[in-house]
Symmetry: C2
Subunit: 214 residues, 2 copies
């Protein structure tokens, strides 16, 4: 178990030049393959695209999650940065909503990614995806705290359920090829958390049933 840190983030022991090159080729090939065929893209195909043997892929990335995590961590960092930006520019609950929408867009980058991320949400360390997932969740916690302290959202909401719900909404949009479904489902979830009454104006007036018969 040597503490082999990722080569792109200041490696402890630098890779041999050819190894370094293969590593980068693999990451680029994986990004392309995941984009085209989703997070379950064939690892053999990725190795083929990178022009390396399948054994080389396994040497650098012992699991699919390790490869996925490497390809995704730049995006995850951007989502965290977006949270900090929204905190200073946007009112509490709409900052949270905008951030969740950004996260859902990120999750929809690759087909099947919502599944991997939802799993990593609970595995807590078992997968390399847990690190980016944890960072994002912490960023979300900060925005949720702010929205709850402002009184706009209920105190009993947990960031875990909200993030899980956002992943589920992204997954649903993926399954139904209906990109807007993610936003609609997120709206349902957030509306359930507001402390004020039902936000969309429509319903208030119809307290005692519409005229059409049962």
């Amino acid at each position: 178990m040597q503490p082999r840190t990722s080569p792109s983030t200041g490696s402890t022991r630098p890779l041999r030049a050819d190894a370094r090159r293969n590593y980068d080729l693999l990451v680029a090939a994986a990004d392309a393959a995941f984009t085209e065929h989703g997070a379950d893209a064939s690892l053999e195909d990725i190795a083929r695209r990178a022009g390396v043997g399948i054994g080389t892929l396994y040497r650098h990335f012992p699991t699919r999650e390790a490869l996925l995590a490497k390809v995704l961590d730049a995006g995850a960092a951007a989502i965290v940065a977006r949270a900090n930006e929204l905190r200073t520019t946007t009112p509490p609950s709409s900052a949270l909503v905008s951030w969740l929408e950004a996260m859902m867009g990120y999750v929809m980058t690759y087909d099947g990614l919502a599944k991997s991320l939802a799993a990593s949400l609970v595995e807590s360390g078992k997968s390399e995806l847990c690190a980016p997932c944890k960072l994002m969740t912490e960023a979300g916690q900060m925005l949720l705290d702010r929205a709850q302290q402002s009184g706009e959202l209920r105190q009993d909401a947990t960031i875990h359920d909200i993030v899980l719900g956002a992943h589920a909404a992204a997954w649903a949009a993926e399954q139904t090829d209906d990109a807007d479904a993610a936003r609609r489902l997120l709206t349902l979830i957030i509306d359930g958390l507001r402390t004020d009454a039902a936000p969309r104006a429509v319903a208030r007036a119809v307290r005692r049933g519409a005229p059409r018969r049962s």
Copy 2:
């Protein structure tokens, strides 16, 4: 394209005795395999369990969905029956909630079933799963109409989004091995649809932020 109706539901032309027997063996084996290994269980394994050749499985069930639909349709009928029962025994919006919970339990029968059902929700006829899915959605529509006419739920909710949300919640519970997550996420969704204010009592009092500092 002969209109080959399912053997168990009054067949047009009855199957030969051995074929009939194999058909039933396959359905039983599939049920066991789906329960054990999820909706993606190996078809070869199912044929093996049934003691028939893989070709026989494909003859009776040209696609995985056809087999899945056959194994599931009794349960789907039960969910529809449950809707009719709840309509006559339970107040509008809690009838809908109880019914959605029953449907989520059904969807969680097999791992990976939520995915198949969510896809069938939009394919509209392409998969054999669409028939049971459509029946369930219609039953849900009836309960939703009732809840909206009573004024308890907003008028702008669609049964499509609610059922999709329930599937997504079931999926989330599956991914996180947290059976209760489905119920919690469903609660978020339904709370978002109520016409009265936030239902859980907690938050009302904290309109202007809790004392702990940002």
